[in-house]
């Protein structure tokens, strides 16, 4: 049987959800018996491949780069999992939503900068007006809340997805930690 292709990605978040994914410890070997991780911060592939079965994405959609990434992921993926509170509610990245982006740039690159006060013009993605949950931008199939989601629930979800089932996460994990 061909292995299930799993991709992970990280938008505007703290990587804590990926840390929690690693917290499933040696159980990741069980998962990898029937799945391959084909893309993400844990492996070294540069381009998002075709025909991904399951993508788990952490973080809110906060910049034009995030928007491009998630649109591409959605297009090339069968099942998209919103992974953690930032992806589902905008969470901490969403706390900047009460301020206009202009004020944020001012704060970051001028008020808080001692040296070289200047807004970078290259290689920095542009902020969108709001950090948004993923499902406000593209269709999401599975929601896995938590800050971060507990490792056991991540393992359960991945096991179900690898076996071709959608995990039922109601009552298993909550917003916050």
């Amino acid at each position: 049987m061909e292995k299930v292709k799993i991709a992970t990605s990280w938008l505007d978040g703290c990587s804590g959800c990926h840390m929690s994914l690693l917290d499933i410890d040696e159980r990741i070997l069980t998962l990898l018996e029937s799945a391959d991780i084909v893309y993400g911060p844990l492996v070294d592939f540069k381009d998002y491949p075709q025909g991904v079965d399951v993508a788990i994405v952490e973080g809110a959609v906060s910049s034009d780069e995030d928007e491009e990434k998630i649109t591409k992921i959605r297009k090339l993926t069968k099942i998209l999992v919103s992974f953690g509170d930032c992806a589902i509610t905008a969470n901490i990245p969403g706390m900047r939503n009460y301020f206009p982006t202009k004020e944020l740039y001012e704060r970051a690159y001028f008020e808080n900068a001692d040296l070289n006060q200047k807004r970078p013009s290259i290689r920095i993605p542009h902020l969108l007006s709001h950090a948004r949950p993923i499902h406000e931008v593209v269709t999401v199939d599975v929601f896995l809340p938590g800050c971060p989601p507990p490792a056991d629930v991540i393992f359960y979800s991945l096991s179900e997805l690898i076996n071709g089932r959608l995990p039922d996460l109601k009552g298993k994990t909550r917003f916050g930690r």
């Binding site: 919103s82 509170d85 589902i88 509610t89 905008a90 969470n91 901490i92 969403g94 706390m95 939503n97 009460y98 301020f99 709001h130 948004r132 949950p133 499902h135 406000e136 999401v140 929601f143 896995l144 809340p145 800050c147 996460l169 109601k170 009552g171 994990t173 909550r174 917003f175 916050g176 930690r177």
Partner: protein
Amino acid sequence: MKKVSQIQTLIIDGKEVGGKSDESILQVAKENDIFIPTLCYLEGLSDYGGCRMCIVEVKGMPRLVPACTTLIREGMEVTTNSEKIHNYRLSILALLFTERNHICSACVSNGHCELQTLALKLGLTHVEFPYIFPKMPVDATHDRFIADHNRCVLCGRCVRACHEVEGAHTKDIMGRGITSRVITDLKESWGSSKTCTSCGKCVHVCPTGALTEKGKSVAEMEKRRQFLPYLKLMRERR
């Protein structure tokens, strides 16, 4: 002459139960270990019926009714959970989450919050409505307490505790609909209030992290409200 309450029998979720005629559907359900989710209800405070979390179906009634403010009647047939009720409750919860900024992971009440617990219990894993992200004020002018309007669900428990139990009526709600806000006195800062007795009852009846004690970090704020039913009992005996 004291009003004598009669015993009435009714059916809740197919189970035959009895209660006194001045009891609500919610009270009788509680006495019989039938779970109905609540948010604005708190034993020891008057019944408000504001959050609509406890809505139930009563046979013969055209619309859903709140269990906390509907008195039982002889022969009543009540359903506390159905797909219709469940979906309404989920929508109410979802609207509460989008109206303010409930960031559980950064909240002092994380893990002790009734809104968070309801989402877990009712299986709300995400919110379909767009988040509003309103800019809300935080009042930290009081020596010991903080009012963070980002986390307020307008349940009105603080207003009732302040008025009914402490007798100060420092807290109230101003505005209408989505622009409603809990205020101190006539919308003044909490720290300069001349009516607030600093008793802290409002803080401890608050279901979320909207009213908290100062000096608490994430997940450290646990509310203690064991005092309420006792206070109520003592007052009734007077």
